[in-house]
Symmetry: C2
Subunit: 296 residues, 2 copies
């Protein structure tokens, strides 16, 4: 698969995810229209959909078909989306722009943004619990992984640690601890839950956990580098935000050159985690390289 | 069971719940200390624990023992607690006082309050998913019920509808629709998930759904009446808040006298929903009467 073919592949998967997300949001009556519009504004407002795509690819690596992972994939995107909504709030990172448009609390209001985030997080667990293509045992295991990755020891804990560290000096170890939770945990959960949905054995799930950890790290380093070097238009948000906000980033703590080197090493380690797997893991290998190369 | 015996009974159950909550929060390393303290401040900071107690009683009505419902009961309290934290935020109801103490964003800060709420909501699903005293099928069913009750068509939807209605005139139907979601859905889920945990058959689960709907209504009417007539010290929060905030309440829409009458009727309907059940449903009957009589 060359770079062009990967683009086509990712575009196709993105289409599958976006159809499924729209379908899961469209559940008829009973939701206040302002809340429904706010949820749709954020959830259907673009994005790379990299977490759900990783879940689909991990499911394929485990079993063959991607379909059993579709609801879990959408749940991952809902959790990611809720975290962006809450992180953008004035009491947190106070960002006015997201994906080239006003952030949710700017487009609607703060109260609605808090509630839309809450609703998306809750819906994530509901769609997995109600997914009849999964056995009860796998649904439960996926919910346990998602909630651990999203909660106080995962993403939420990472965001709190990030807020706590703001403006102060931090060590490389502390930086790694913040980001492995804030970004790494959910990306790891994408690979792991996809493998569980696909019926992967314990060994494969373990390989996916290792792979996920490395691409999560690669993703974060690249994100930080793009904030320093990126193109505002391609990113759809302002660059230089991290530095101005006193955020703990890899370029700030490691320097730009060493961050680039560590990014390359993380991709190599991600590919090494897939050793022994064949063709079926090729999309996961391509994604690892894509993450390091992306411009947005 | 007379009123004194019920007090003792509720006190005892409250103790069981509070021990279990403290135990579930205390999961060792990996949680930023400020986040852990904020979660404990809210979750272990008192409260009637009426939702988890209903779940335990419904479990007993279904099967005999209460133990299988303990994690689901704690999950209900976590969801209730997260909803109070987020509802108290300046962008929502802007309340400075909760259970006689500063609300969480006043005691800590807004960012931490948003995250602590997020973490408690997430933890609720994790504890049910990891509860090994439940079969995978029951765990999944309980998670589906909890998420539906908490989400955009349940509690979050009700809070949004309440915000949307603020200050305007609303009809009795609209009032009922707001509160059946905002308060009723989670109380109903308490009765339903308790019955599921106890292995209750479809018919019993249906009875619990009807019972829960009525006591949810009774609970809300009583809450609104207490805001008009209650004792600030017993309540641990300021009275008259609803009227000042232009909130949609039963006394405002129905009048005080008629609200009291409807409260009594809801309790009668709740007891009627338990018809055919024997001794094992006695605590549920007592709780229905207690809800109408409580002073806080």
């Amino acid at each position: 698969m060359n770079a062009n073919q990967l683009q086509v592949y990712l575009e196709e998967k993105r289409g599958v995810i976006e159809l499924a997300l729209a379908d899961l949001l469209d559940r008829g009556e009973g939701i206040p229209s302002r809340l429904r519009e706010a949820m749709a504004y954020s959830l259907l407002g673009g994005g790379k959909r990299i977490r759900p795509i990783i879940a689909l690819c991990a499911c394929r690596a485990a079993g063959g078909l991607e379909a059993p992972a579709l609801c879990a994939a959408c749940a991952l995107e809902m959790i990611h989306c809720y975290s962006l909504i809450h992180d953008d709030l004035p009491a947190m990172d106070d960002d006015d722009l997201r994906r080239g448009r006003p952030s949710l609390h700017r487009a609607f209001d703060e109260g609605t943004a808090i509630l839309a985030g809450d609703a998306l997080l809750t819906l994530a667990f509901e769609v997995v619990a109600r997914d009849r293509s999964l056995s009860a045992a796998r649904a439960r295991e996926i919910i346990a992984e998602l909630s651990a990755a999203a909660g106080d020891r995962g993403m939420v804990g990472g965001q709190q640690a990030d807020l706590d560290a703001e403006g102060g000096e931090i060590s490389r170890e502390e930086l790694a601890r913040i980001h492995s939770r804030k970004t790494g945990a959910l990306i790891t959960a994408a690979a792991v839950t996809g493998a569980i949905a696909g019926g992967g054995e314990k060994e494969l799930v373990g390989m996916m956990r290792a792979y996920g950890g490395e691409i999560g790290l690669a993703f974060q380093i690249k994100d930080d580098l793009l904030d320093v070097e990126g193109n505002e238009k391609a990113l759809g948000k302002a660059v230089g935000q991290d530095r101005r906000g006193g955020k703990a980033t890899y370029p700030a703590v490691w320097g730009i050159e060493e961050s680039r080197e560590e990014l390359k090493r993380a991709v190599v380690r991600a590919e090494a985690a897939l050793e022994g797997l064949g063709e079926e893991a090729e999309p996961l290998r391509m994604i690892a390289r894509f993450i390091a190369r992306r411009e947005s």
